[in-house]
Symmetry: C2
Subunit: 236 residues, 2 copies
């Protein structure tokens, strides 16, 4: 059975629907998305493997998910550091950053230096709305995540990958293959190029929405906000 995926266009429509007829606020959805990411990190990288987590945060909603994940990871006992070079004036992102400052989570300016002092990286730079070119200062960050031996968990998409077609044919990101991917709500078509451990998160989708967008709700277990799946989308 092939894994059903959600195109970039469908993912955008689904997000819009959740926040209109679905009556969710972006605060709610981002909280649950970031919580999913934090639980996946805990699963693949328990605190016993090292508490230092470097979270690379992009300028949009994918970055917001990363900020929420960093907060939950701090509460779990990790020591996250956040690289957040492009901060939009958006009120929500500013509040999420303030919540981290209040937990004494450091914000770092130099990704390459911070990478030498971490046990795990969360890539929350670009999500399903990414297309085109990787803008500064992110090409060097993606190259560093490609070259590092430290495990990398990507949120929704490996940053720089085309949502439909996967890694770029050449240049930055063409050799980037993170260790872990957390697909939010449903996997995107790029997953067929992904070789690592794959989780699905975002336990707020209704059966009606899943049916409308033609994907299967993952088989979450118990109270988990995340489920690990195989290449066919079945629970591992």
């Amino acid at each position: 059975m092939a894994l059903k995926t959600l195109s970039a266009k469908a993912a955008a429509a689904l997000d819009k629907e959740l926040m209109s007829t679905g009556a969710f606020s972006i605060d709610q959805l981002m909280e649950l998305a970031g919580l999913s990411v934090s639980q996946a990190v805990y699963r693949v990288h328990p605190t016993t493997k090292g508490r230092r987590i470097l979270v690379a945060v992009g300028p949009g909603n994918n970055g917001g998910d990363g900020l929420v994940a960093a907060r939950h990871l701090r509460h779990y006992g990790y020591l996250p550091a956040v690289y957040y070079p492009k901060r939009p004036k958006n009120d929500l992102y500013q509040r999420l950053a303030k919540q981290l400052e209040d937990l004494d989570v450091p914000f770092v300016d130099d990704f390459a230096s911070a990478l030498k002092l971490t046990d795990h990286v969360v890539d929350a730079i670009f999500g399903f709305s990414f297309s085109g070119e990787v803008r500064e200062p992110f090409p060097a960050v993606i190259q560093a995540m490609t070259d590092t031996q430290v495990p990398v968990t990507s949120v929704d998409a490996p940053s720089s990958w085309s949502i439909e077609d996967g890694p770029p044919k050449s240049g930055v990101g063409s050799s980037f293959n993170p260790d872990v991917l957390v697909s939010l709500t449903a996997p995107k078509p790029l997953v067929k190029h992904f070789k690592g451990r794959h989780f699905i998160g975002g336990r707020f989708v209704t059966p009606t929405i899943a049916k409308k967008y033609d994907f299967d709700l993952p088989e979450y277990e118990g109270i988990d906000q995340v489920v690990e799946v195989g290449p066919d989308g079945q629970k591992l």
Copy 2:
């Protein structure tokens, strides 16, 4: 060691501080509070004990926590039903109710009848801002929760209890002693009158806030959003 508690006045100030200098939105806090409640219910009453959960929802924030908990419980595989007789026009509560309607969660009008068809009750009627008299239609609901053999989990406070002094000396609520209590952020003084299983939830409080309000952060485990504590507040 005596358990440190948070007075009604201090709890209100803490809430206000989280949403001002703490930069949290009420959507975020309510999502995490309701998630805590759902995890406590799962702990004391796994789906194998019966999937039917009746959630009694009051007109304020305690009720909002109940609506969020009902949604998570539905996602966990329970079959919640919601009794919500006083619906304020507040946009957030309306959205939380819509999210339940989209999951086909039934709203029931007759609490006593619904109580005969449930395996567990969540009491989300009144929280730390309650004082004075129990208004209609809730006296009969609290009496029914007092008389039933079905286990009851109260959110933040057994409804009708004084936050400082516990159960009323006479009348409705004077014999109400729920099986489970989920204290949000910190226990309130009423806990010294409570005899059941006690959980603390709301894993978003910073060490600075806990210090300022003079209570101890509970020792949550792993990714849990809730922790069971003994009479002294220590993890069980």
